[in-house]
Symmetry: C2
Subunit: 299 residues, 2 copies
């Protein structure tokens, strides 16, 4: 690199924050955008440059990461009033790290490129703990030029950068399939542990034994621990899976996805019962209540 690289991170939630501090850690000048003053103050203390305006942060940036909640917000950040694309210099790489409909990812990338920019469809996985240490996984697709330019930034935030092809959409497609599995596995963990409680098993022992058996999943290990401990502090919320499994069933169209539909029904029901912002493992409380039993953490 002949000049110091500048990155911008739009949205300093748990994943965006982790990405932004990981960029700073490797010496990349990093601008952070959020609406929360306390978060921006903390980001300045970390050595970043804080902005409330998307367009101010994007002017002169080389690579812009978008860490917002859904596709509609990403579209607004990119193309809305005071949006990122209009403010950026030609050739800026926009990396959309958002779980959204693959069809929308294709559309946004096409519009970004039509404006003279580069696009990477790059949803992430790994959770907030790995985000903080620069160890996310990125499921990414886009043109080689975009990867060449954004490479040092991608390597700063992720240990695994999967290159899934030149076309936008592939990254979001793989992420969608990951979320299908993740959502079904969370609901399955909830169903398994709730039935275990119903028949009188010690949940801690059950959780330990199953992790050594063929019934294990990453989510059973991770979210199962929340259920065993009765701790529903949101790491990822019920409403995230209402959204993500909604994307799955929507994009599937006529193709059969019966388990996704069943799991989506549970997340929707949990959300309607007031648990939308609790940890996604709270579907266990819904099933327990329906079955007339109490799990740890239920009053």
């Amino acid at each position: 690199m002949t000049k110091q690289m500048t990155a911008a991170v739009i949205g300093l939630g748990s994943m965006g924050w982790g990405a932004a501090v990981s960029l700073l850690r490797v010496g990349i000048a990093t601008r952070g955008v959020d609406i929360r003053a306390d978060v921006l103050e903390k980001f300045t203390a970390e050595g970043g440059t804080s902005f409330t305006s998307v367009s101010d942060a994007c002017a002169g940036a080389d690579v812009v990461f978008i860490f917002v909640v859904n596709g509609a917000q990403a579209e607004d950040v990119l193309f809305g009033a005071g949006g990122a694309v209009a403010a950026a210099q030609d050739g800026t790489v926009f990396v959309t790290c958002v779980t959204m409909e693959p069809s929308r990812a294709v559309d946004l990338a096409a519009r970004v490129e039509a404006a003279g920019m580069l696009a990477i469809d790059g949803p992430v996985s790994g959770g907030s703990v790995k985000a903080l240490t620069g160890e996310m996984t990125i499921m990414a697709s886009g043109r080689a030029e975009a990867f060449d330019k954004a490479g040092p930034c991608l390597d700063a935030i992720a240990t695994k950068v999967y290159r899934l092809g030149d076309e936008a959409g592939k990254g979001s497609q793989v992420k969608m399939i990951n979320q299908l599995l993740a959502g079904v596995h969370i609901a399955a963990a909830a169903e398994a542990l709730t039935l275990g409680a119903k028949i009188g098993l010690d949940l801690g022992v059950l959780h330990e034994v199953i992790q050594e058996c063929a019934g294990n999943s990453w989510m059973f290990g991770n979210r199962g621990a929340h259920i065993v401990e009765g701790d529903y502090t949101p790491h990822s919320a019920v409403d995230i899976f209402v959204k993500d499994l909604g994307i799955v069933t929507g994009e599937a169209g006529n193709h059969p996805v019966p388990l996704s539909q069943t799991a989506l029904g549970l997340f929707k029901e949990a959300s309607a019962a007031g648990m939308g912002r609790e940890d996604d493992a709270a579907v266990a409380k819904l099933l327990a209540a329906k079955g007339g039993i109490k799990l740890p953490g239920m009053s």
Copy 2:
């Protein structure tokens, strides 16, 4: 031990065979019972003693392992005409390594003990490859006396022997919960990969990437490979999960198990479509056919 121990293994299918040769490997005199002459011949060649009669094999045995397909068969082996319990000496330990209704496991153990014998409710996990090398997992419950006596045999066939309490039924309960998860995860892997194929993803890449992400499960790794390769050679068959998820929904009673019910519906449908004896991953072919697409291995 003051005298050489004698074990009997009833049912030399893939798991029973593995247990029997693992017992021989550590020097325990082992009797094998099966109805297939070729299997018995092979067992004799391994150094075992072969029987076609359950009662002959059980007379004088110290520990009897029962590796049959379901609870009804186990009941027949124990208490039917020419059955094991009537032929055995007092204090023989009967280890039922069968996935069955926990309520039935409790009943059988009570009747075994009423006849002056000892009982271990000991379903296994791990698959035929680990069975062969003496590396199964046993989810076991029963009285300390039974474990003391059967200990050397259990250690010969398993690297993990979980002691889940003194009461019969606990082993079968934990195994039932494991099968709930395993069955739902197989169906979820099928749904995920089939949708991936539908939207045009490379299944090999998808399978590889997801295994590094939060959507992974033991079954996604293992059975997902069968789907990617289009290889439905039965390691465990569709009909096993018709049985095991049927046990889950039956024992759950009024308690909600919506994902188990959805997955059971798929396994039943695959069985009705003629795939009952194929690998359980064949639910993917069912979903693909319903969605109008072809997976590897589909003509």
